[in-house]
Protein backbone atom coordinates (compact mmCIF):
# COMPACT_ATOMS: atom_id res chain seq x y z
CA UNK A 1 0.00 0.00 0.00
CA UNK A 2 1.27 3.38 -1.01
CA UNK A 3 1.51 5.96 1.72
CA UNK A 4 1.34 9.65 1.10
CA UNK A 5 4.51 11.29 2.29
CA UNK A 6 4.46 14.61 4.13
CA UNK A 7 5.92 16.34 1.08
CA UNK A 8 3.17 15.03 -1.20
CA UNK A 9 0.52 15.99 1.33
CA UNK A 10 1.85 19.54 1.25
CA UNK A 11 1.53 19.60 -2.57
CA UNK A 12 -1.88 17.95 -2.63
CA UNK A 13 -3.75 20.69 -0.75
CA UNK A 14 -2.70 23.63 -2.94
CA UNK A 15 -3.41 21.52 -6.04
CA UNK A 16 -6.92 20.79 -4.78
CA UNK A 17 -7.41 24.47 -4.05
CA UNK A 18 -6.21 25.50 -7.53
CA UNK A 19 -8.54 22.92 -9.12
CA UNK A 20 -11.50 24.25 -7.14
CA UNK A 21 -10.68 27.81 -8.12
CA UNK A 22 -10.35 26.81 -11.78
CA UNK A 23 -13.64 24.94 -11.69
CA UNK A 24 -15.36 27.94 -10.13
CA UNK A 25 -13.80 30.24 -12.70
CA UNK A 26 -14.98 28.00 -15.50
CA UNK A 27 -18.54 28.19 -14.24
CA UNK A 28 -18.67 31.76 -12.97
CA UNK A 29 -15.85 33.49 -14.78
CA UNK A 30 -17.18 33.48 -18.30
CA UNK A 31 -18.82 36.80 -19.09
CA UNK A 32 -20.04 35.77 -22.50
CA UNK A 33 -22.75 33.17 -22.74
CA UNK A 34 -23.29 31.20 -25.92
CA UNK A 35 -26.03 32.96 -27.84
CA UNK A 36 -28.07 31.55 -30.69
CA UNK A 37 -30.70 33.68 -32.37
CA UNK A 38 -33.30 31.64 -34.21
CA UNK A 39 -33.96 32.80 -37.77
CA UNK A 40 -36.78 35.27 -37.61
CA UNK A 41 -39.69 34.39 -39.83
CA UNK A 42 -42.87 36.34 -39.43
CA UNK A 43 -42.97 38.42 -36.27
CA UNK A 44 -46.45 39.76 -36.85
CA UNK A 45 -47.60 42.92 -38.51
CA UNK A 46 -44.32 44.78 -38.76
CA UNK A 47 -41.15 43.94 -40.62
CA UNK A 48 -38.21 43.43 -38.32
CA UNK A 49 -35.05 45.02 -39.65
CA UNK A 50 -31.76 43.26 -38.95
CA UNK A 51 -30.47 46.33 -37.11
CA UNK A 52 -33.48 46.29 -34.77
CA UNK A 53 -33.10 42.57 -34.14
CA UNK A 54 -29.42 43.00 -33.26
CA UNK A 55 -30.19 45.88 -30.89
CA UNK A 56 -32.99 44.00 -29.16
CA UNK A 57 -30.89 40.87 -28.58
CA UNK A 58 -27.92 42.96 -27.40
CA UNK A 59 -30.06 44.89 -24.91
CA UNK A 60 -31.81 41.74 -23.69
CA UNK A 61 -28.47 40.02 -22.96
CA UNK A 62 -27.29 43.16 -21.21
CA UNK A 63 -30.45 42.95 -19.08
CA UNK A 64 -29.34 39.49 -17.91
CA UNK A 65 -26.03 40.98 -16.79
CA UNK A 66 -27.88 43.72 -14.88
CA UNK A 67 -30.17 41.14 -13.30
CA UNK A 68 -27.18 39.05 -12.26
CA UNK A 69 -25.46 42.04 -10.65
CA UNK A 70 -28.60 43.33 -8.97
CA UNK A 71 -29.70 40.00 -7.45
CA UNK A 72 -26.15 38.98 -6.58
CA UNK A 73 -25.42 42.20 -4.69
CA UNK A 74 -28.96 43.10 -3.63
CA UNK A 75 -28.70 46.43 -5.43
CA UNK A 76 -31.99 47.37 -7.05
CA UNK A 77 -30.52 50.48 -8.69
CA UNK A 78 -28.56 48.22 -11.07
CA UNK A 79 -31.88 47.34 -12.70
CA UNK A 80 -32.57 50.91 -13.85
CA UNK A 81 -30.42 50.67 -16.93
CA UNK A 82 -32.18 47.72 -18.54
CA UNK A 83 -35.58 47.17 -16.91
CA UNK A 84 -38.78 49.21 -16.74
CA UNK A 85 -42.34 48.76 -15.58
CA UNK A 86 -43.57 45.47 -14.16
CA UNK A 87 -40.31 43.59 -14.72
CA UNK A 88 -38.32 46.18 -12.81
CA UNK A 89 -40.86 46.35 -9.98
CA UNK A 90 -40.94 42.58 -9.53
CA UNK A 91 -37.15 42.21 -9.56
CA UNK A 92 -36.83 45.12 -7.12
CA UNK A 93 -39.36 43.39 -4.84
CA UNK A 94 -37.25 40.22 -4.97
CA UNK A 95 -34.17 42.22 -4.00
CA UNK A 96 -36.05 43.82 -1.09
CA UNK A 97 -37.14 40.37 0.08
CA UNK A 98 -33.63 38.93 -0.33
CA UNK A 99 -32.19 41.79 1.72
CA UNK A 100 -34.77 41.23 4.44
CA UNK A 101 -33.97 37.51 4.58
CA UNK A 102 -30.20 37.91 4.28
CA UNK A 103 -30.16 36.01 0.99
CA UNK A 104 -28.21 36.65 -2.18
CA UNK A 105 -28.73 34.80 -5.43
CA UNK A 106 -26.13 34.64 -8.16
CA UNK A 107 -27.17 34.01 -11.73
CA UNK A 108 -24.61 33.17 -14.38
CA UNK A 109 -26.18 32.69 -17.78
CA UNK A 110 -24.24 30.30 -19.98
CA UNK A 111 -26.51 29.74 -22.98
CA UNK A 112 -29.32 31.59 -24.71
CA UNK A 113 -31.50 30.35 -27.53
CA UNK A 114 -33.45 33.43 -28.50
CA UNK A 115 -36.36 33.73 -30.88
CA UNK A 116 -38.12 37.00 -31.62
CA UNK A 117 -41.80 36.21 -31.88
CA UNK A 118 -43.73 39.47 -32.08
CA UNK A 119 -43.06 43.03 -33.20
CA UNK A 120 -46.05 45.29 -32.69
CA UNK A 121 -47.39 47.25 -35.67
CA UNK A 122 -46.55 50.65 -34.20
CA UNK A 123 -43.07 49.48 -33.17
CA UNK A 124 -43.63 50.09 -29.47
CA UNK A 125 -43.05 46.57 -28.20
CA UNK A 126 -41.15 43.49 -29.20
CA UNK A 127 -41.48 40.05 -27.69
CA UNK A 128 -38.94 37.27 -27.53
CA UNK A 129 -38.76 33.75 -26.17
CA UNK A 130 -35.47 32.54 -24.75
CA UNK A 131 -34.53 29.03 -23.72
CA UNK A 132 -31.80 29.91 -21.30
CA UNK A 133 -29.36 27.89 -19.27
CA UNK A 134 -27.79 29.37 -16.19
CA UNK A 135 -26.03 28.41 -13.00
CA UNK A 136 -27.59 29.67 -9.85
CA UNK A 137 -26.09 29.98 -6.39
CA UNK A 138 -28.03 30.68 -3.23
CA UNK A 139 -26.20 32.29 -0.34
CA UNK A 140 -27.76 32.74 3.08
CA UNK A 141 -25.88 35.29 5.17
CA UNK A 142 -22.94 34.86 2.79
CA UNK A 143 -22.89 31.08 3.27
CA UNK A 144 -23.29 29.11 0.07
CA UNK A 145 -26.32 26.86 0.37
CA UNK A 146 -26.63 25.44 -3.12
CA UNK A 147 -25.41 25.67 -6.68
CA UNK A 148 -27.71 24.46 -9.39
CA UNK A 149 -27.71 24.36 -13.16
CA UNK A 150 -31.07 25.56 -14.48
CA UNK A 151 -32.69 25.43 -17.88
CA UNK A 152 -35.80 27.53 -18.33
CA UNK A 153 -37.90 29.20 -21.01
CA UNK A 154 -38.33 32.93 -20.58
CA UNK A 155 -40.77 35.25 -22.29
CA UNK A 156 -39.68 38.88 -22.41
CA UNK A 157 -41.35 41.99 -23.76
CA UNK A 158 -39.07 44.91 -24.52
CA UNK A 159 -40.05 48.50 -25.24
CA UNK A 160 -37.93 51.22 -26.81
CA UNK A 161 -36.60 54.13 -24.78
CA UNK A 162 -34.49 57.07 -25.93
CA UNK A 163 -31.37 55.06 -26.69
CA UNK A 164 -32.07 51.38 -26.11
CA UNK A 165 -34.64 48.64 -25.61
CA UNK A 166 -35.63 47.90 -22.02
CA UNK A 167 -37.26 44.79 -20.59
CA UNK A 168 -40.83 45.47 -19.46
CA UNK A 169 -42.06 41.91 -18.98
CA UNK A 170 -39.71 39.13 -17.85
CA UNK A 171 -41.31 35.84 -17.01
CA UNK A 172 -40.36 32.17 -17.11
CA UNK A 173 -42.88 29.61 -18.27
CA UNK A 174 -42.95 25.82 -18.17
CA UNK A 175 -41.02 24.28 -21.05
Amino acid sequence: MMKMTGHRRVLWKPLLFVCSVLATLLVWGSDHPTVRVEPTGSVGPRTLEKQTETAVVRDYLQAWRSLSGALGQNRAELLNRDFVGTAKEKLADTIREQTKLGIETRYQDSKHDVQLVFYSPEGLSIQLVDTVEYDMQILDHEKLQATQHVRARYVAVLTPTEVQWKVRVFQAEPE
Binding site: F118, P121, D140, Q145
Partner: protein
Amino acid sequence: MKSRLTLLLGGLIWVASALLALAQTSLHLPRTVEAGAAFSIQSAGSGKAVLYIVGPAQVLRRDVQLGETISFAAGDLHNAGHYLVVLVGSSTETGAFDVTAAHQPTALSFIAKPSRLPVDLHDGISGVAYVFDTFQNLVLQPTQVSFQLSGVAGVPQTRTVSTRNGVAWTKLDSASKEGAAQFTAQVGGVADKRVIQQVPGEPCRLRMNVRASGQRLELETEPVRDCSGNAVPDGTIVTFTEIYNGGEATVDVPLKRGVAKTEMPAYHGATISVATGVVMGNEIHWGRE
Protein backbone atom coordinates in the same frame (compact mmCIF):
# COMPACT_ATOMS: atom_id res chain seq x y z
CA MET B 1 -12.97 -14.29 8.38
CA LYS B 2 -15.04 -12.79 11.16
CA SER B 3 -13.56 -9.36 10.58
CA ARG B 4 -14.33 -9.57 6.83
CA LEU B 5 -17.91 -10.46 7.58
CA THR B 6 -18.17 -7.58 10.01
CA LEU B 7 -16.77 -5.24 7.36
CA LEU B 8 -19.21 -6.48 4.72
CA LEU B 9 -22.14 -6.19 7.09
CA GLY B 10 -21.04 -2.72 8.12
CA GLY B 11 -20.79 -1.69 4.49
CA LEU B 12 -24.25 -3.00 3.72
CA ILE B 13 -25.70 -1.18 6.72
CA TRP B 14 -23.99 2.03 5.60
CA VAL B 15 -25.33 1.74 2.03
CA ALA B 16 -28.81 0.89 3.29
CA SER B 17 -28.88 3.80 5.72
CA ALA B 18 -27.59 6.16 3.01
CA LEU B 19 -30.34 5.00 0.64
CA LEU B 20 -32.90 5.31 3.42
CA ALA B 21 -31.72 8.81 4.25
CA LEU B 22 -31.94 9.73 0.56
CA ALA B 23 -35.47 8.37 0.34
CA GLN B 24 -36.49 10.04 3.58
CA THR B 25 -35.26 13.50 2.64
CA SER B 26 -36.61 13.55 -0.90
CA LEU B 27 -38.84 16.49 -1.67
CA HIS B 28 -42.29 16.04 -3.14
CA LEU B 29 -42.92 19.13 -5.21
CA PRO B 30 -45.88 20.18 -7.32
CA ARG B 31 -45.02 20.32 -11.02
CA THR B 32 -46.75 23.64 -11.49
CA VAL B 33 -48.60 26.02 -9.21
CA GLU B 34 -51.06 28.68 -10.31
CA ALA B 35 -49.94 32.15 -9.26
CA GLY B 36 -51.43 33.10 -5.92
CA ALA B 37 -52.81 29.63 -5.19
CA ALA B 38 -52.15 27.77 -1.95
CA PHE B 39 -49.83 24.79 -2.26
CA SER B 40 -47.77 22.46 -0.14
CA ILE B 41 -44.46 20.64 -0.25
CA GLN B 42 -44.00 17.29 1.41
CA SER B 43 -40.65 16.63 3.03
CA ALA B 44 -39.39 13.42 4.54
CA GLY B 45 -36.91 12.64 7.28
CA SER B 46 -36.53 14.21 10.66
CA GLY B 47 -34.89 17.21 12.19
CA LYS B 48 -34.88 20.85 11.31
CA ALA B 49 -34.09 22.31 7.93
CA VAL B 50 -34.37 25.51 5.95
CA LEU B 51 -36.41 25.61 2.76
CA TYR B 52 -35.62 28.14 0.04
CA ILE B 53 -37.87 28.81 -2.94
CA VAL B 54 -35.91 31.08 -5.21
CA GLY B 55 -36.40 32.71 -8.58
CA PRO B 56 -35.77 36.14 -10.09
CA ALA B 57 -39.44 36.98 -9.55
CA GLN B 58 -39.73 36.04 -5.89
CA VAL B 59 -37.86 34.56 -2.93
CA LEU B 60 -39.21 32.62 0.06
CA ARG B 61 -37.35 31.17 3.04
CA ARG B 62 -38.90 28.94 5.68
CA ASP B 63 -37.58 27.15 8.76
CA VAL B 64 -39.18 23.72 8.55
CA GLN B 65 -39.47 20.48 10.44
CA LEU B 66 -38.57 17.57 8.17
CA GLY B 67 -41.26 14.96 7.76
CA GLU B 68 -44.01 17.52 7.90
CA THR B 69 -46.05 19.04 5.12
CA ILE B 70 -44.89 22.59 4.42
CA SER B 71 -47.92 24.66 3.50
CA PHE B 72 -47.99 27.93 1.64
CA ALA B 73 -51.06 30.11 1.86
CA ALA B 74 -52.85 31.69 -1.09
CA GLY B 75 -50.89 34.70 -2.25
CA ASP B 76 -47.55 33.57 -0.79
CA LEU B 77 -46.14 32.82 -4.23
CA HIS B 78 -47.80 35.09 -6.77
CA ASN B 79 -45.24 35.85 -9.45
CA ALA B 80 -45.12 33.50 -12.42
CA GLY B 81 -41.74 31.98 -13.10
CA HIS B 82 -39.36 29.08 -12.69
CA TYR B 83 -38.40 28.45 -9.06
CA LEU B 84 -35.53 26.50 -7.60
CA VAL B 85 -36.32 24.72 -4.35
CA VAL B 86 -33.50 23.99 -1.92
CA LEU B 87 -33.95 22.17 1.36
CA VAL B 88 -30.93 22.48 3.63
CA GLY B 89 -30.86 20.15 6.60
CA SER B 90 -28.37 17.46 7.45
CA SER B 91 -28.09 17.11 3.68
CA THR B 92 -29.13 19.39 0.83
CA GLU B 93 -32.01 18.56 -1.49
CA THR B 94 -32.92 20.50 -4.59
CA GLY B 95 -35.82 20.57 -6.98
CA ALA B 96 -37.73 22.97 -9.16
CA PHE B 97 -41.24 23.87 -10.21
CA ASP B 98 -43.05 26.49 -12.24
CA VAL B 99 -45.58 29.07 -11.22
CA THR B 100 -47.98 29.89 -14.05
CA ALA B 101 -50.17 32.96 -14.42
CA ALA B 102 -53.67 32.72 -13.04
CA HIS B 103 -56.14 31.59 -15.72
CA GLN B 104 -58.50 34.51 -15.16
CA PRO B 105 -57.30 37.64 -16.98
CA THR B 106 -57.89 40.79 -14.96
CA ALA B 107 -55.92 43.44 -16.78
CA LEU B 108 -55.12 44.53 -20.30
CA SER B 109 -52.33 46.63 -21.65
CA PHE B 110 -53.91 48.06 -24.78
CA ILE B 111 -51.99 50.14 -27.31
CA ALA B 112 -54.02 51.71 -30.11
CA LYS B 113 -52.38 53.73 -32.86
CA PRO B 114 -52.67 56.27 -34.28
CA SER B 115 -54.87 58.53 -32.18
CA ARG B 116 -55.78 60.62 -35.26
CA LEU B 117 -55.99 59.55 -38.89
CA PRO B 118 -57.82 60.29 -42.15
CA VAL B 119 -61.12 58.57 -42.93
CA ASP B 120 -61.38 55.57 -45.21
CA LEU B 121 -57.88 54.25 -44.64
CA HIS B 122 -57.49 50.50 -45.09
CA ASP B 123 -55.77 48.82 -42.09
CA GLY B 124 -55.03 52.29 -40.79
CA ILE B 125 -55.75 51.56 -37.12
CA SER B 126 -53.76 49.02 -35.14
CA GLY B 127 -54.52 47.58 -31.73
CA VAL B 128 -52.23 45.45 -29.57
CA ALA B 129 -53.37 43.92 -26.29
CA TYR B 130 -51.21 42.17 -23.69
CA VAL B 131 -53.26 40.12 -21.22
CA PHE B 132 -52.33 39.99 -17.52
CA ASP B 133 -53.67 38.30 -14.41
CA THR B 134 -54.33 40.00 -11.09
CA PHE B 135 -50.65 39.73 -10.11
CA GLN B 136 -49.43 41.39 -13.32
CA ASN B 137 -48.27 38.07 -14.77
CA LEU B 138 -48.56 37.76 -18.53
CA VAL B 139 -51.25 35.16 -19.24
CA LEU B 140 -49.47 32.85 -21.68
CA GLN B 141 -52.35 30.46 -22.24
CA PRO B 142 -54.27 31.32 -25.43
CA THR B 143 -57.08 33.74 -24.56
CA GLN B 144 -59.71 35.29 -26.81
CA VAL B 145 -59.47 39.07 -27.13
CA SER B 146 -62.27 40.99 -28.81
CA PHE B 147 -61.44 44.24 -30.61
CA GLN B 148 -64.24 46.62 -31.63
CA LEU B 149 -64.19 49.95 -33.43
CA SER B 150 -67.49 51.81 -33.13
CA GLY B 151 -69.13 55.14 -32.57
CA VAL B 152 -69.19 56.56 -36.09
CA ALA B 153 -71.91 55.89 -38.65
CA GLY B 154 -71.98 52.36 -39.95
CA VAL B 155 -71.72 48.92 -38.47
CA PRO B 156 -69.02 48.52 -35.80
CA GLN B 157 -66.00 46.54 -36.92
CA THR B 158 -65.31 43.57 -34.65
CA ARG B 159 -62.43 41.10 -34.61
CA THR B 160 -61.84 38.29 -32.15
CA VAL B 161 -58.23 37.23 -31.91
CA SER B 162 -56.57 34.55 -29.81
CA THR B 163 -53.48 35.58 -27.86
CA ARG B 164 -50.15 34.00 -28.63
CA ASN B 165 -47.55 34.25 -25.88
CA GLY B 166 -49.92 36.61 -24.10
CA VAL B 167 -50.44 39.11 -26.90
CA ALA B 168 -53.16 39.67 -29.51
CA TRP B 169 -53.23 42.26 -32.25
CA THR B 170 -55.41 43.46 -35.09
CA LYS B 171 -55.66 46.06 -37.83
CA LEU B 172 -58.88 47.84 -38.74
CA ASP B 173 -60.02 50.32 -41.38
CA SER B 174 -60.92 53.87 -40.44
CA ALA B 175 -64.58 54.75 -41.08
CA SER B 176 -65.77 56.71 -44.09
CA LYS B 177 -67.31 59.42 -41.90
CA GLU B 178 -65.27 61.79 -39.80
CA GLY B 179 -65.60 61.84 -36.02
CA ALA B 180 -64.41 60.21 -32.82
CA ALA B 181 -64.48 56.42 -32.75
CA GLN B 182 -64.26 54.20 -29.69
CA PHE B 183 -61.67 51.47 -30.03
CA THR B 184 -62.17 48.78 -27.40
CA ALA B 185 -60.22 45.66 -26.48
CA GLN B 186 -62.04 43.19 -24.27
CA VAL B 187 -61.08 39.94 -22.63
CA GLY B 188 -63.61 38.27 -20.34
CA GLY B 189 -65.08 41.03 -18.21
CA VAL B 190 -62.12 43.36 -18.68
CA ALA B 191 -62.23 46.09 -21.30
CA ASP B 192 -59.96 48.95 -22.19
CA LYS B 193 -61.04 51.81 -24.44
CA ARG B 194 -59.21 54.33 -26.62
CA VAL B 195 -60.59 57.20 -28.68
CA ILE B 196 -59.49 57.46 -32.29
CA GLN B 197 -60.13 60.76 -34.04
CA GLN B 198 -60.99 60.22 -37.71
CA VAL B 199 -60.53 63.36 -39.75
CA PRO B 200 -61.40 64.12 -43.39
CA GLY B 201 -58.88 63.03 -45.97
CA GLU B 202 -57.31 65.07 -48.73
CA PRO B 203 -59.68 67.23 -50.80
CA CYS B 204 -61.04 65.14 -53.61
CA ARG B 205 -62.42 67.74 -56.00
CA LEU B 206 -61.80 71.48 -56.14
CA ARG B 207 -63.88 73.87 -58.16
CA MET B 208 -64.09 77.68 -58.12
CA ASN B 209 -66.51 80.20 -59.59
CA VAL B 210 -65.78 83.78 -60.62
CA ARG B 211 -67.84 86.93 -60.69
CA ALA B 212 -66.81 90.36 -61.97
CA SER B 213 -67.08 93.23 -59.52
CA GLY B 214 -65.91 96.43 -61.23
CA GLN B 215 -62.14 96.18 -61.90
CA ARG B 216 -61.87 93.12 -59.70
CA LEU B 217 -62.85 89.48 -59.82
CA GLU B 218 -64.58 87.80 -56.90
CA LEU B 219 -63.35 84.19 -56.67
CA GLU B 220 -65.04 81.56 -54.50
CA THR B 221 -64.64 77.81 -54.28
CA GLU B 222 -67.47 75.37 -53.97
CA PRO B 223 -67.52 73.57 -50.56
CA VAL B 224 -64.29 71.57 -50.39
CA ARG B 225 -64.80 67.89 -49.51
CA ASP B 226 -62.78 64.69 -49.36
CA CYS B 227 -63.61 61.66 -51.49
CA SER B 228 -66.05 60.36 -48.87
CA GLY B 229 -67.97 63.64 -48.83
CA ASN B 230 -66.59 64.93 -45.51
CA ALA B 231 -65.97 68.67 -45.34
CA VAL B 232 -62.26 69.45 -45.35
CA PRO B 233 -61.42 71.30 -42.09
CA ASP B 234 -61.51 75.09 -41.97
CA GLY B 235 -58.05 76.55 -42.05
CA THR B 236 -56.89 74.33 -44.91
CA ILE B 237 -55.04 76.62 -47.31
CA VAL B 238 -56.35 77.15 -50.84
CA THR B 239 -54.09 78.92 -53.32
CA PHE B 240 -55.42 81.13 -56.13
CA THR B 241 -52.98 82.01 -58.90
CA GLU B 242 -53.52 84.57 -61.67
CA ILE B 243 -51.21 84.79 -64.69
CA TYR B 244 -51.55 87.86 -66.86
CA ASN B 245 -49.39 89.61 -69.52
CA GLY B 246 -46.24 87.92 -68.25
CA GLY B 247 -47.07 88.75 -64.62
CA GLU B 248 -48.25 86.48 -61.80
CA ALA B 249 -50.19 87.03 -58.56
CA THR B 250 -50.77 84.45 -55.85
CA VAL B 251 -53.16 84.56 -52.90
CA ASP B 252 -53.30 81.92 -50.12
CA VAL B 253 -56.68 81.76 -48.39
CA PRO B 254 -57.72 79.50 -45.50
CA LEU B 255 -61.00 77.66 -45.82
CA LYS B 256 -63.77 79.29 -43.84
CA ARG B 257 -67.06 77.43 -43.41
CA GLY B 258 -65.89 74.98 -46.04
CA VAL B 259 -65.15 77.53 -48.77
CA ALA B 260 -62.30 79.85 -49.76
CA LYS B 261 -62.97 83.38 -51.10
CA THR B 262 -60.76 86.14 -52.43
CA GLU B 263 -60.59 89.02 -54.91
CA MET B 264 -58.03 89.48 -57.66
CA PRO B 265 -57.53 92.18 -60.36
CA ALA B 266 -59.52 91.63 -63.56
CA TYR B 267 -56.87 91.51 -66.30
CA HIS B 268 -58.11 90.85 -69.78
CA GLY B 269 -56.80 87.47 -70.99
CA ALA B 270 -55.69 86.37 -67.50
CA THR B 271 -55.64 82.71 -66.52
CA ILE B 272 -56.75 81.96 -62.95
CA SER B 273 -56.17 78.62 -61.29
CA VAL B 274 -56.88 77.15 -57.85
CA ALA B 275 -55.15 74.43 -55.86
CA THR B 276 -54.97 72.96 -52.35
CA GLY B 277 -52.33 70.51 -51.25
CA VAL B 278 -51.65 68.27 -54.22
CA VAL B 279 -55.12 68.76 -55.71
CA MET B 280 -55.53 71.08 -58.69
CA GLY B 281 -58.89 72.70 -59.33
CA ASN B 282 -60.35 74.19 -62.48
CA GLU B 283 -58.83 77.01 -64.53
CA ILE B 284 -60.67 80.12 -65.66
CA HIS B 285 -59.59 82.25 -68.65
CA TRP B 286 -60.91 85.75 -68.11
CA GLY B 287 -62.05 87.97 -70.98
CA ARG B 288 -61.33 85.52 -73.79
CA GLU B 289 -63.79 84.95 -76.58
